[in-house]
C-alpha cells in the first residue's frame, strides 16, 4: 500500500500494457474485457426472455395482427373472379350494363368457381354490401351455367337466368369490391358504406354501430362513476383504520375480486330476477306491491348493477394504495389551522387522492368497455356492449371482416386509454393482490 502510494499508482505494473492501458487478469485490455462481458450478459438476458417472447408473439400477437389484417382484407372477389375483375376495369357504370367480354370472362370465372363450390361464399361476402347478392350467386349454379350456348351472345342468357345480371347494380358492386384491400368494413363499423358512387351514410334503420359505440362508452362511464362513488369511501375507511381491522375488512374487497366472474354474474342473475331475493325483500317490506315487482334484469339496470359490483375492487385497490401514502397528519394540521372538516378534506386530502382516482377510473373504464360475459347474461337487448356485437358477427352472422373492423376500433380505443394510464400511473406500477 505504501509502495503504491509512493509511486502515485494503485495498480501494479503487470496489470498495465505497454501503452498504459489497464489489463484484465487474462491479459486483454480491461475496457474490451468489460465490453465483452456486458455483451455476454445482454445475450444471456435475451436468451432467457426469447422463448416466452416467441411464444407470446406466436400465440397472441399473431392472432391480433391477423384480426387487424382481416379488417381490411378483401381477396375473395379478385381470387374468385380474376378475369371478370380485369374485364370490368375498363367499364364505367355510368354507361349502362357491361359489354359482352365481361359476361364471357364472368362465365369462365363462374364455371371454375361453381366447380369448386366457392361461388356461394363470394355471394355471402357481397351480400354484406348489397342485399340480394347472395341469392343471385346461389342461383347462378353449375347446372344452369352448363346449359348456356357458348356460340350465342352470353348477356341475354345471363339475363334469362336472372334479370339482375342485366342491371348495372351487381356489376358495380363487384367492381367496387374488386381491390384486394378495402376500407369497406371500417366504413360499415361507422354506419357508412362504400357504394359504387362513393362513401355515403347507411340507411337510417341500419345505423346501429355508432349508437352502440356511444352506448358502450356511456354505460362504461356510468359504471366507472358508480364504482368511484362506492369505492372512495371504502378506500378511505380501509386506509384510515388500524392495520388489523383494515386487513379484516380488506377480505370483503378481495374475496369478490378472487371469485369467479361467472359466480358473481350468476349471483346477480338470481338476485335480480322478478321472483328473486331482492324483489321478495322489497315486497315483504312493502316498498313495491307484488304486482309491481321491479324489472332489474335483462336491461341496462342489470348491466350497471352487476358490472359495478364486479369492477368495484379494481377501483378500491388503486385508491387504497394511493390513500395509504397520504400522511394523516396533513388533515390534522389543516384542522388545527382552522379548516372545517369539509375544507380540510376538499382542499387538502382530496387533491392528494386524485392520482388514485385517475388510476382506478381509467382501469375500471378500460375493463368495462371490453366486457362481454356480464352484458350478454344480464344485459338483455338494451344493456349490451360493442363486444356482444363482435361475438354476434363471429359466431352467428359470420361477417368476420366486420367483426374484425369493430374489434380493431375497440382495440385502438383501449390502447389509447392505456397510453393515458401509462402516462398517469405507469404500467410497471400495476399491482396484483
Amino acid at each position: 500500500m505504501a509502495e503504491a502510494t509512493a509511486n502515485g499508482d494503485i495498480a501494479p505494473d503487470e496489470h498495465r500494457s505497454a501503452s498504459g492501458q489497464l489489463l484484465a487478469a487474462d491479459g486483454t485490455p480491461l475496457k474490451k474485457s468489460i465490453r465483452r462481458s456486458e455483451a455476454r450478459a445482454r445475450l444471456r438476458a435475451f436468451l432467457l426472455v426469447a422463448p416466452l417472447l416467441i411464444f407470446v408473439l406466436l400465440s397472441f400477437i399473431a392472432p391480433i395482427a391477423d384480426m387487424l389484417f382481416r379488417s381490411v382484407e378483401n381477396e375473395i372477389v379478385a381470387d374468385t373472379l380474376p378475369r371478370t375483375v380485369e374485364a370490368l376495369d375498363a367499364w364505367d357504370p355510368q354507361t349502362g350494363p357491361p359489354p359482352e367480354p365481361v359476361y364471357r370472362a364472368f362465365y369462365d370465372d363462374m364455371l371454375e368457381a361453381t366447380e369448386l363450390k366457392i361461388h356461394t361464399r363470394l355471394g355471402s361476402r357481397l351480400n354484406y354490401e348489397e342485399s340480394g347478392m347472395s341469392s343471385l350467386f346461389r342461383k347462378t349454379n353449375e347446372r344452369r351455367l352448363e346449359r348456356f350456348d357458348l356460340d350465342q351472345p352470353l348477356q341475354p342468357q345471363f339475363v334469362d337466368l336472372d334479370k339482375d345480371w342485366g342491371e348495372v347494380e351487381p356489376w358495380a358492386v363487384i367492381k367496387t369490391f374488386a381491390p384486394r384491400y378495402t376500407w369497406g368494413y371500417f366504413l360499415q363499423a361507422a354506419d357508412m358504406r362504400l357504394t359504387p358512387g362513393g362513401v355515403e351514410m347507411a340507411p337510417e334503420f341500419e345505423q346501429i354501430y355508432l349508437k352502440l359505440f356511444w352506448r358502450t362508452i356511456l354505460l362504461s362511464c356510468t359504471i366507472t362513476l358508480s364504482c368511484l362513488l362506492l369505492g372512495y369511501p371504502v378506500a378511505w375507511l380501509l386506509s384510515n383504520l388500524p392495520a388489523r381491522s383494515a386487513n379484516l375488512l380488506m377480505i370483503l374487497v378481495l374475496l369478490p375480486f378472487w371469485t369467479s366472474l361467472l359466480v358473481r354474474t350468476s349471483a346477480w342473475k338470481v338476485l335480480l330476477q322478478e321472483q328473486g331475493v331482492i324483489n321478495d325483500i322489497l315486497v315483504y317490506i312493502g316498498i313495491v306491491s307484488d304486482a309491481g315487482r321491479l324489472v332489474m334484469i335483462n336491461n341496462q339496470t342489470g348491466t350497471i348493477i352487476a358490472m359495478t359490483h364486479i369492477l368495484l375492487p379494481f377501483m378500491v385497490l388503486p385508491l387504497y394504495s394511493v390513500m395509504k401514502t397520504i400522511p394523516p397528519s396533513y388533515l390534522r394540521a389543516a384542522k388545527s389551522l382552522g379548516a372545517t372538516d369539509w375544507t380540510a378534506f376538499w382542499r387538502v386530502y382530496f387533491p392528494q387522492s386524485v392520482p388514485g382516482i385517475g388510476a382506478g377510473a381509467i382501469l375500471v373504464f378500460i375493463l368495462a368497455i371490453g366486457y362481454y360475459i356480464t352484458p350478454e347474461l344480464v344485459g338483455g337487448t338494451d344493456g349490451t356492449f360493442i363486444s356482444n356485437r363482435i361475438a354476434f358477427h363471429i359466431s352467428t352472422s359470420l361477417n368476420w371482416g366486420l367483426a374484425a373492423a369493430l374489434g380493431s376500433l375497440l382495440l385502438i380505443l383501449v390502447l389509447g386509454l392505456y397510453w393515458l394510464y401509462d402516462r398517469i400511473v405507469g404500467i410497471d406500477n400495476v399491482k396484483l393482490g
Binding site: 444471456r44 438476458a45 435475451f46 432467457l48 426472455v49 416466452l52 417472447l53 407470446v56 400465440s59 400477437i61 399473431a62 392472432p63 391480433i64 391477423d66 384480426m67 382481416r70 362506492l230 369511501p233 371504502v234 375507511l237 392495520a243 377480505i251 370483503l252 374475496l255 369478490p256 378472487w258 371469485t259 369467479s260 366472474l261 361467472l262 354474474t265 350468476s266 349471483a267 346477480w268 342473475k269 338470481v270 338476485l271 321472483q275 328473486g276 331475493v277 359490483h309 368495484l312 375492487p313 372538516d341 378500460i366 362481454y372 350478454e376 347474461l377 363482435i390 363471429i394 368476420w400 367483426a403 374484425a404 375497440l410 382495440l411 383501449v414 392505456y418 399491482k431 396484483l432 393482490g433
Partner: protein, 283 residues
Amino acid sequence: MALQPYASTGQRIWYYTFRVLCGLILFFLIFPIIIIIPLSFNALPYFTFTPGMLALEADAYSLEHYRDFFYNDAWQQALWNSLSIAPAATLLSVSLGTLAAIGLSSGKMPFRGVVMAILISPMIVPLIISAAGMYFFYSRIGLQGTWFGVVLAHAALGVPFVIITVTATLVGFDRSLTRAAANMGAGPVRTFFKVQMPLILPGVISGGLFAFITSFDEVVVILFLGSAGEQTLPWRMFTGLREQISPSILAVATLLVSVSVILLVTLEILRRRSERLRGMSPG
C-alpha cells in the same frame, strides 16, 4: 380516525353515518357471494328462499343440487376438462414466464420496454378481441377446436400475471447471492435451482395461482376456441345461465367460492412468507 373526545354532535353524527355507509357498500360487495351459499341448498328448484328455508326447517334444505353436479356426466366432464386445461396452461406460462422474468430483471435486457409491453399485452387487450383474433388465426393453422389450442391461448393469457409477480419478487432479490454461489463453484443451473429458485418461489407460486385462476375462470376465449369436447365449468355455467338456468349452477358457484377462499388464504400466506424471506416485516 378514531372519534375525538371533543367532537361536536354534528361530527359524531357524520362519523356514524359514514361508518354505516361504508358498511352498506361492503355489504353490497359481499352479499351476492354469501347469498348463493344457502340458496344452493334449496330443496326446491327455486332461486329464492322458500318459507320453509326461512323457518329453518330441515326438510327445506337438501344436497340435491350437489348430487346433480357430482352424478351428472356433463358437469363431471366439464370439471375434468377444467382440471386438465388449467394446470397445463399454468405449467407453460410459469416455466417460460419465470425464465423471462429473470432475464427482464437482470437490467441487461435490450429493448426492455418494448418486450415488456408485448409480454403484458394479453392482459391489456379486451378478452373479446383476443378471442376474435385467436379464433381467426387458430382456424387458419388448424388449432381451433383442439385441446392444445385452448391450452396455448390460456397460457398466453396467464403470462402477464407471472411476469408481473415474479419481476416484483426479483426486485428484492440480492444478486450477490448468485455471485457467491458461482464463486463457490456452482454452475448456472445449480445456482438457479439451489439458490435463486427457493428464494423467489413464493412469487413464482403466486404468479402460478394467478395464471391458474385466469385459465380456470376464463370463458370468452374458450367459447370461441373450444369445441364441445373442451367444455369447461365456466363454459357450462355460461350456457346454463343463458339458456335454461338450473339450480345446480348455484351448487357449482358455491364450490367455486370455496376454491377462491382457499386461493385467497394461500396467497396471503405466500405474501407474508415472501416478505419474511426478503427481510421485510409483514405489513
